[in-house]
């Protein structure tokens, strides 16, 4: 199915949960990502239970802490 991930049209397998989508997209540190689907933030505890659907607009929002400490 077709998704928009961070605004880029992306082809992914059908029937994916958010957790599976993160794995499929090879997100290295899923704990460092907040996920928004069609403009609504999805609770991290619901990543496995929340499906993504054809034409969904998905944003991966990364934690950025820094100042680049030594």
């Amino acid at each position: 199915m077709k998704l928009k991930i961070n605004e880029a049209a992306t082809e992914v397998p059908d029937d994916l949960s958010i957790a599976e989508l993160l794995a499929h997209q090879k997100v290295k540190m899923p704990d460092m990502v907040s996920v928004q689907v069609n403009g609504a933030i999805v609770d991290r505890s619901a990543f496995s239970a929340t499906p993504v659907r054809e034409n969904d607009s998905v944003d991966f929002l990364y934690f950025m802490g820094g100042g680049g400490k030594k």
């Binding site: 704990d31 928004q36 929002l61 990364y62 934690f63 950025m64 802490g65 100042g67 400490k69």
Partner: protein, 272 residues
């Protein structure tokens, strides 16, 4: 507030803007902006806000200038290594503009000092360098009802948002709680392109100035993500999250508290 001849000359490029004018410059001179962190993000912000004539600039930072800071923290010079960052930064503000009153807080923002420090300011700029500190700034601004600009940087990317507590989505709407310590990349791996801090800090200063002047559209309900490698800016719209633990419908955070620092946060050696 009436401007002196010298002020009219100094701020002429502001005053000539119809949207600012003498009245707007007066607002800047009467404004009070707090910078939490006088480092990579704070440096360009404090320099520009001092130049702009922000009347009171508060600087909160418990660190001393380190040689590794100088790659990006442009308010500090080689001669400042070993000095308190707030002292070094305050000196630069005063050198740029004697109109500016600088208040120094040579300490880290903590749950037990934050609200007392914040109460005297109109706008807060988060230039901190850890998740614990960023969540603390977001929480403290929420409880104090102070608008703030958040920013974070990592490697070649930065992101920033402006929050008006009670009106717009907040940092915790997007990032519910600090990531688990084992998820945080080790600090030695992280690194950051120096100028990236400058770009993001300058955007934060622009938001502070816009807020004071009441101009334009603030960066609210949007996360602006900058990618220096692709040289792209992306606006990600979001709205208040009803499940937000801070500003949602049934918040679980009802008092200010310190978040545990992430695994890679270093304990600073006491100053000699």
């Amino acid at each position: 507030m009436s401007l002196t001849e010298q002020q009219i000359e100094r701020y002429s490029r502001h005053i000539i803007l119809p949207e600012v004018g003498g009245r707007g410059q007066g607002k800047l001179l009467a404004s009070r902006v707090l910078l939490v962190g006088a480092g990579g993000l704070g440096s360009p912000a404090l320099l520009y806000l001092a130049a702009a004539g922000v009347g009171t600039i508060g600087l909160v930072d418990g660190d001393v200038v380190d040689l590794t800071n100088l790659q990006r923290q442009i308010a500090h010079t080689t001669a400042d290594v070993g000095r308190d960052k707030v002292e070094s930064a305050a000196e630069k503000c005063r050198a740029i503009n004697p109109d500016v009153k600088v208040r120094m807080y040579p300490e880290h923002l903590r749950a037990d000092n934050a609200l007392d420090i914040l109460k005297d300011y109109d706008f807060v700029l988060d230039g901190t360098d850890s998740f614990a500190a960023k969540f603390l700034v977001a929480d403290a601004c929420h409880f104090a009802g102070k608008p703030y600009s958040h920013a974070g940087i990592l490697r070649f990317e930065g992101q920033t948002m402006t929050v008006i507590p009670g009106q717009t989505g907040c940092y915790r709407c997007l990032f519910r709680e600090p990531p688990p310590p084992n998820a945080v990349p080790s600090c030695s791996q992280a690194g950051v392109l120096g100028v990236l801090a400058g770009i993001m800090g300058a955007i934060q200063a622009a938001e502070a100035a816009k807020y004071v002047l009441g101009l334009g559209e603030l960066l609210t309900n949007r996360l602006l993500v900058f990618d220096a490698l692709k040289m792209t800016f992306r606006n990600i719209g979001f709205s208040r999250n009803p499940a937000c633990p801070l500003c949602g419908n049934s918040p679980s955070i009802v008092t200010l508290r310190d978040e545990a620092p992430p695994a890679c946060a270093r304990t600073r050696e006491p100053k000699p």
